[in-house]
Every structure is written in structure tokens, then in C-alpha cells.
Amino acid sequence: EDQVTQSPEALRLQEGESSSLNCSYTVSGLRGLFWYRQDPGKGPEFLFTLYSAGEEKEKERLKATLTKKESFLHITAPKPEDSATYLCAVPGNTGNQFYFGTGTSLTVIP
């Protein structure tokens, strides 16, 4: 069964305290893994696409990496404006749709 699991559910960091968010998936024949940022009351904003194990993408303080079973979103020296819910999604193999994780709610404290 196609499935995406994100951990932790919530994460509180001090400004400047680096950490990582995890997204594990059970889809076989991965056709891509997508990271999004969602602010309260807004739609998800696309961040990264990863297609193959070993691939990395960076944007400002964020770096996404991919292995055969999971992806990590590394946040280096976060700032309060990085506070948001981070979602990952994969296209299903058995299901004709995208599967989203339930997200990690990140709070960065000044």
C-alpha cells in the first residue's frame, strides 16, 4: 500500500538551532518526492522535487535529501520566518493520485 509518514509531528527550535525533518515512504518505483511549505490559512508552497536516491536540493537554509526509503529536510540555522508546516508528497504506484504526509509543524523561537 502506498503510504507516506512524516516525523516528528511538531518541532520547536531556538533560532539558529539546526535540525532535520523526516519523510518515509513505501511507494515502489518512485516517480518523485515533493516537499512543500504551508503557512496557516494558505495553500502549500512548492519547495523541492527529488527523483533519485542520493539527490540533494538546496534553497536558502533548507536542504532536501533522498534515499531509497526516506527523505530528509535539513534546516540550518533557522529563523522565525521558517516557522510553518512542512509537507512531503509522492505519486502513488498502486493509487492514481499523490499521497501526502500529515506534515511537521515547525516553530522557530527568537
Binding site: G43, F46, A89, P91, Q97, F98, F100
Partner: protein, 114 residues
């Protein structure tokens, strides 16, 4: 480049009424997806339209329906509204490569059922 646009921003209805939500995809995108996001919950897949055809629907009752127009815009109709239908309804679009491309989202329609 204009992003995905949704209207209205907010919609207030009472139980039993019908609601129509609208979505315009990014120019050049042919696929439109609809999701329901209840407060504090994850995205629940509703419908996928591509080239005017329904490609897939999620585990929702038939009173949730929609269509895609020749210009690729789409509308979502919800009949016989129930209190639990209160949620943020998100529309997303992507191009002809379908599931291999990321989706781009609008900011949603907040539907409140009184």
C-alpha cells in the same frame, strides 16, 4: 506568471445547501486536483481532472462532484452540505506529465457550514 487562483476566498452556507468552488490553473497546466483540508488535519484527495476527464476520485461520497472546462479551469460542487464539510478546499494544478510533476496550489476556499 499567475499562480493557481481560487474563488471565492470564503463561503458560508447552511446545512443542506449546495456550494460551488472555482479554480483556474496555471497557464499551460492541463491537470487540476482538489483536496479537502479540515482544521488540524492533513490533505485529503478529492478529485483529479485532466484534459476535461475525471482521472480519479478519493474516498468521498457522490455529493462531492466537479468538472473541468475546455479552458482547463474547474469547479467543485458539494451538494447537501453537512457540518463536517467545513474545511479549506485546495485546488492544485500541474502539466501533461501528470504525477511525475509537482503540483502547484492555490490558497483555497474556506467553506464554513452553519
Amino acid at each position: 506568471e499567475a499562480g493557481v487562483t481560487q474563488s471565492p476566498t470564503h463561503l458560508i452556507k447552511t446545512r443542506g445547501q449546495q456550494a460551488t468552488l472555482r479554480c483556474s490553473p496555471i497557464s499551460g497546466h492541463t491537470s487540476v486536483y482538489w483536496y479537502q483540508q479540515a482544521l488540524g488535519l492533513g490533505l485529503q484527495f478529492l478529485l483529479w481532472y485532466d484534459e476535461g476527464e475525471e482521472r480519479n476520485r478519493g474516498n468521498f461520497p457522490p455529493r462531492f462532484s466537479g468538472r473541468q472546462f475546455p479552458n482547463y479551469s474547474s469547479e467543485l460542487n458539494v451538494n447537501a452540505l453537512e457540518l463536517e464539510d467545513s474545511a479549506l478546499y485546495l485546488c492544485a494544478s500541474n502539466g501533461r506529465e501528470g504525477l511525475s510533476q509537482p503540483q502547484h496550489f492555490g490558497d483555497g476556499t474556506r467553506l464554513s457550514i452553519l
